[in-house]
Amino acid sequence: MNVFQFILQNHTEVLEHMREHLWMVVASTFLAVIIGIPLGILISRKPGWDKPILGGANIIQTVPSLALFGFLLPLPWIGARSERLAILALTLYALLPLIRNTYAGINGVDRAVVEAGRGMGMTDRQLLWQVQLPLALGVIIAGVRVAAVISVGLATIAAAIGAGGLGEYIFRGLAMVNNQLILVGAIPAAALALLADFTLGWLERRLSPA
């Protein structure tokens, strides 16, 4: 059977898996944003904190995704529902691009501009909110973009622990040695990734200063 025929005939099921997939990506990216951006700000102000925190996020990134799902399984509350588990794992992966880009964005603001602000009597908080964060915003959104696109891909693995999503078709196709079925999962996933990339890329350009 042709891939598109399959999608059309089973569109309610495909849409349901897409919804699950999108939910995992959106929830995990959101969590990574509210954890990663403050951490990025923190390490930009506390000298010496950058290495351990960026290093930690880096180590998480190197853990193979399937193994990470396994590691998290024994956690209370989280491990009880596979969807929670998948969201937590995706959040952990998305942290690195967010922390790193927030940190790089703030440090990348022209030093003369920051020093002019400080020299004119702006407080640390005023400098952060009125100067550093607005000027770093483009770089931070670029981090969100990277995180979201990575999450769309990684979320297909979540099907291995029963969290649903478009990975269902990929794993089913692998088990049945059915390439068409793999594509039923892979094509919508690729479309979601492109959509996320495009939307956030547009936002990045809109919000970049100068």
């Binding site: 020299g119 009125q130 100067v131 100068a210």
Partner: protein
């Protein structure tokens, strides 16, 4: 900060040294007084410590030993935020906020000082006129201005809250010679009217002779001499002579 009432120096350096935490010495044994209403030029080559000297005044750096007094109080006694808001700061390339319009850039200190909006608007209009900028430029962003216009905005921003002291760190350094000469002339006219206490950093001897009421020559973190321009030209100090030689053309008749 109270202006023009007490006599005596506005800014004093008492045996100031500044070292990086690594131990590298930037300034040593610096003693200097800046009088009210004068333009003291810190002259010296790159790395001579003139910018560090400037940053000691608005407490962007703190002395490793010795003390810096502004209006009689040491910079460590001052609340740094209060101190800095009473001192205008103008730097090379203006250091304008690229995401702020000209108006918001100029209004920076009045805004963080919570002036009422109508007073800020009036002040911005007044300053644009003072530095010779078209009022229509106020809605533009810095990237839409020429280098000379940006620097004028930088000066306007430094003057916004009418501080009695103005620190200028190579403010005209990045401009083409014609624009630079124009801004130097305007600075002189402005300074005649406003009578601020100005500390001006430059490596350009011509600029120092033109703008300074006194010139402080610095070399390798030490103060060499402090002299009015005419005496500076006649000084027999070997370092002054070297400087004069490097700028040979300026010192017509005084060449060695």
């Amino acid at each position: 900060m109270s202006a023009d009432n007490q006599p005596g120096p506005v800014i004093e350096f008492h045996d100031v040294a500044y070292r990086f935490s690594g131990g590298q010495e930037l300034l040593n044994g610096l003693s200097l007084a800046v009088c009210r209403g004068e333009t003291l030029v810190l002259l010296g080559r790159s790395g001579s410590g003139k910018t560090t000297t400037l940053k000691l005044i608005n407490a962007l750096v703190s002395p490793t030993s010795g003390e810096v007094r502004v209006e009689g109080r040491t910079t460590t006694e001052w609340d740094p935020i209060r101190l800095r808001r009473g001192i205008g700061y103008v730097i090379q390339d203006a250091g304008l906020f690229p995401h702020f319009t000209v108006e918001r850039n100029i209004a920076l200190v009045p805004t963080i000082e919570h002036w009422p909006p109508e007073r800020i608007r009036a002040r911005v209009a007044e300053l644009l006129q003072l530095v010779g900028l078209d009022p229509e430029l106020e809605k533009r962003y810095p990237r839409e201005l020429s280098g000379g216009q940006r620097q004028r905005v930088g000066v306007a921003r430094g003057l916004a809250a009418d501080p009695p002291i103005l620190l200028m760190d190579e403010p005209f350094g990045a401009l083409d010679p014609i624009t630079r000469a124009e801004l130097q002339r305007e600075f002189l006219a402005l300074q005649q009217r406003l009578q601020k206490t100005v500390v001006f950093v430059t490596h350009d001897l011509r600029e120092a002779l033109l703008l300074g009421t006194r010139i402080a020559l610095m070399e390798a973190g030490k103060l060499v001499v402090v002299l009015p321009p005419n005496d500076f030209l006649r000084s027999s100090d070997p370092l002054v002579k070297r400087y004069l030689d490097a700028f040979g053309a300026v010192s017509n008749g005084h060449r060695t």
